[in-house]
């Protein structure tokens, strides 16, 4: 695949177009249970995220920030446009990629820290967080050691490590989730309000971790409601509001 | 075994004059012989056959009787045993039945018989080439213990899916610490068909292997005939770490002193007195006549 020709909607005309490129992406929901009502979310989304850069999606609640992250992660479909990512040395379009490629991209290219932890019954916090590392081929002992190190850094009480996170507080669950997302060294990392339920001390830890990821060349795309954190990590803020459309009936 | 070999004098047996030689009509015999031949051609395979009504109840050996009736000829010498004995009700009834319907010579001596019909034993005296051993079989299907569906057991035989036989033996060891199956112990015939040896004690299983005599099995109620031709490999199923072994007796026969035979327990009185004697009465008598004696003279 050659370097994509970016449409007019794409913000950057950089010769190094970035690890992650959204090109004229449109998302809407068709609600068949409401007589086929079409709920537009965003349209014409175009921007690129380069290696070592943290791009923050801004805009009001409901502007479609989370939807954009979910399209990049693959849990939302793309109605129109392309989402290009460098995967294993080649550029692929996630909007049309086979589900198996998307799964492979999640293992090897795009990490994701979701807003809420989907707790798995009976699996310990340590194993939940170490799982992506182990899947990426890291020896389980090493993976658990590295996870323990990150738990310690995130001030997660050690007595919780061996417990399943289902009963943890929001902040504790969030730190398990952050460790799970930050541990693998993947080229792209998506952050969906990772600091929302954290106290000041732990927010600072996460800010430092994001800075380290940038240093290591990771391309980060995130949503941060907290202005302090956003200002501390963002290289650029993209106002999603300008991609919004008003609802139209089908 | 040729019915034409000697002219049969019907007048000698007036009571059954209206019956054919050996009770069955010739067409039925042909049908059964075909099944026998097929069984011999496919050792261990259960051949379905159109079992006839016999003048005795099911469970009394109707399968064995039909097989014997189909192969017996005026020149044959017949021996009938039940649990090794020539003088039990079942053996006597069947012997008399063939005496009256064929007029053939009968015997209790294993060595003199050309056809031996048996229930639950193989004679201790080694069989020889030319003899035929006819087994009475209640349940011919060894797989039925774990698989009641006949359609499925036939497929299992066809595809040699015999894992389930070892499940039965596994259960034995798990429950009793050893393979506790002592009767109807399953065998593999010629490396192909798992076969039920009829309810003989496993003590007799080794006698089936490379036996010079022809072994025929008849199950009347179940309508199956199967065969083990002479000099056929018959192996008893087992585990590497729990190999097949025959029953061992801790004493010799009380009457003839034999220590390599299958013994029956005989209750002597109501004081708990008992003794262990050969189950094969002919073998025991023969040894006693030859001067052997056990601890307990009768």
């Amino acid at each position: 695949m050659t370097t994509p020709v970016l449409s007019r909607a794409t913000e950057t005309a950089d010769p190094m177009p970035g690890v992650l490129v959204l090109d004229d992406v449109t998302k809407s929901f068709t609600l068949h249970l409401r007589d086929g009502l079409t709920l537009p979310v965003v349209s014409g989304v175009g921007f690129a995220v380069r290696a070592g850069e943290c791009v923050v999606l801004g805009g009001q609640s409901g502007a479609g920030k989370s939807s954009i992250l979910k399209m990049v992660h693959g849990s939302y479909g793309v109605v129109e446009g392309r989402i290009l990512v460098m995967h294993d040395g080649a550029q692929i379009d996630l909007a049309t990629a086979d589900p198996r490629i998307v799964l492979q991209v999640r293992r090897r290219t795009i990490g994701y820290v979701s807003q809420f932890l989907r707790a798995i019954p009976r699996v310990s916090a340590l194993d939940v967080a170490a799982e992506p590392l182990i899947r990426a081929g890291v020896e389980p002992g090493t993976a658990r050691d590295r996870t323990a190190g990150m738990f310690a850094r995130l001030n997660l009480p050690e007595r919780l490590w061996s417990l399943p996170p289902a009963t943890f507080s929001g902040g504790e669950q969030q730190r398990v989730n952050i460790a799970r997302g930050f541990l693998p060294d993947l080229p792209v990392l998506l952050l969906d309000e990772p600091t929302a339920s954290l106290d000041q001390k732990n927010r600072e830890v996460v800010v430092a971790m994001i800075a380290e990821k940038k240093q290591a060349g990771t391309a980060l795309l995130g949503i941060f409601h907290d202005a302090d954190v956003r200002d501390a990590v963002a290289d650029r803020v993209i106002d999603v509001g300008r991609f919004a459309e008003s609802p139209v009936a089908a | 075994m040729n019915t034409e070999a000697r002219a049969f004098d019907w007048a000698e047996a007036p009571a059954i004059a209206t019956y054919n030689f050996a009770y069955l009509d010739e067409q039925s015999k042909r049908m059964i012989r075909r099944a026998i031949l097929k069984g011999i051609a496919v050792p261990g395979y259960q051949v379905p056959f159109a079992s006839r009504e016999m003048p005795m109840p099911y469970g009394w050996g109707t399968g064995g009787v039909q097989v014997t009736a189909s192969i017996i000829g005026p020149d044959d010498t017949l021996k009938v045993i039940d649990q090794g004995a020539d003088d039990t009700t079942n053996a006597i009834s069947i012997r008399k039945f063939f005496q009256r319907t064929t007029g053939v010579r009968t015997t209790t001596a294993t060595t003199e018989a050309s056809i031996i019909q048996t229930r639950h034993r193989i004679p201790e005296t080694p069989l020889t080439a030319g003899q035929v051993l006819v087994y009475q079989v209640p349940i011919p299907e060894p797989l039925r213990f774990l698989e009641p569906r006949e359609t499925e057991t036939r497929t299992m035989h066809a595809l040699e899916e015999y894992g389930v036989m070892h499940v039965k033996l596994y259960e034995d060891i798990a429950r009793h610490g050893h393979i506790a199956t002592t009767y109807a112990y399953p065998v593999m015939v010629q490396g192909r068909y798992v076969t039920d040896p009829s309810p003989t004690p496993k003590f007799d299983n080794p006698k089936m292997d490379q036996c010079p005599a022809l072994q025929l099995f008849g199950a009347g109620r179940e309508m199956r005939i199967y065969a083990i031709p002479p000099w056929t490999e018959v192996t008893s199923l087992d585990f590497e770490d729990h190999p097949f072994a025959v029953q061992a007796f801790d004493r010799p026969c009380a009457l003839c002193g034999a220590d390599d035979v299958f013994l029956d327990e005989v209750i002597m009185d109501d004081q708990g007195g008992r003794m262990f004697v050969c189950s094969d009465t002919d073998h025991c008598n023969g040894r006693q006549q030859a001067g052997h004696a056990g601890e307990q003279e009768t």
Binding site: H32, L33, G89, P99, L103 | G163, V167
Partner: protein, 265 residues
């Protein structure tokens, strides 16, 4: 593009095309097609009568298809149409390379023999003849499905529903199959028992690198176990894709109804 070439070089474990099964004039399943790759778990969801169990039985060669193909990658790597196999080959495949977990454990277990014999049967079927080693393997497998080793000589009739289901799983996995078919594996179990079973299944699938096709009407089961799912209605596949995408961004009207019908706790 090395990544794409890698993917192209990898053969599916099972490849289904235009699969149709008719019950007389009535449709069981129609024109179903999918590829299942090694290590993948595919969920088939839909309500009762949607054809998902018919489809499962067809691809597991338990039911004759009316038309279409089901190709399976044999252990030697060649793709083989299941319906071209002899019955002997199919049955051998089914008891060595496949597992089938029934909704009702009694359908998949021998209730008249002990737990140990249930687990050991497949080993004996492939020719293992060492009691001690068979028992050792059975003990190990009971442990892996969280059944106390001192229950090894008990019959499944004395087990709870959840234990029976775990025993059925051990009985299936003991020969190291590459593909396991599951028909409502958590159906009929209490919620807490379901959670334990699901977690156990998830762990086993991960550890053993199993491929699985799981039929379920429970979307939570699909979410927890599968990477991809197919939604069926009236015998046809109406939506297919990544499990989280189908559940989070359903496209077909029926899928939207299905997803919106889940009770939130």
């Amino acid at each position: 593009m090395p990544a794409m070439q890698d993917m192209a070089a990898e053969q599916p474990l099972m490849s289904v095309r235009d699969l149709t099964h008719m019950y007389g004039n009535r449709t069981g399943c129609r024109d179903v097609g999918f590829d299942l790759y090694p290590g993948e778990v595919l969920a088939i969801v839909g309500e009762s009568g949607s054809g998902k169990t018919t489809l499962l039985n067809c691809i597991a060669a338990r039911l004759q298809r009316t038309s279409g193909t089901v190709a399976y990658q044999m252990r030697d790597g060649r793709m083989q149409d299941l319906h071209a196999l002899s019955e002997a080959e199919r049955r051998f495949l089914a008891r060595t390379d496949w597992g089938f977990v029934h909704q009702n454990p009694a359908d998949g277990l021998r209730m008249s023999v002990s737990a140990g014999a249930n687990v050991g049967e497949r080993l004996m079927a492939v020719g293992q003849r060492h009691y001690g080693r068979i028992r050792e393997t059975a003990t190990d497998w009971l442990g892996r499905v969280e059944i106390d080793h001192d229950r090894i000589d008990d019959r499944p009739g004395t087990f709870s529903g959840g234990m029976r289901q775990r025993l059925q799983i051990a009985r299936n996995l003991v020969t190291g199959p590459r593909l396991v078919f599951m028909d409502e594996p958590t159906g009929g179990l209490d919620v807490s028992v379901q959670a334990r079973l699901l977690d156990l299944l998830r762990g086993l699938v991960d550890d053993l690198g199993l491929s699985a096709v799981v039929v379920t009407h429970d979307l939570a089961v699909a979410r927890l176990l599968s990477q991809r799912m197919m939604v069926m209605k009236n015998g046809r596949v109406i939506e297919t894709g990544l499990t989280d995408r189908v559940l989070d961004d359903p496209q077909a009207p029926y899928t939207q109804l299905l997803v919106s019908s889940i009770l939130q706790v």
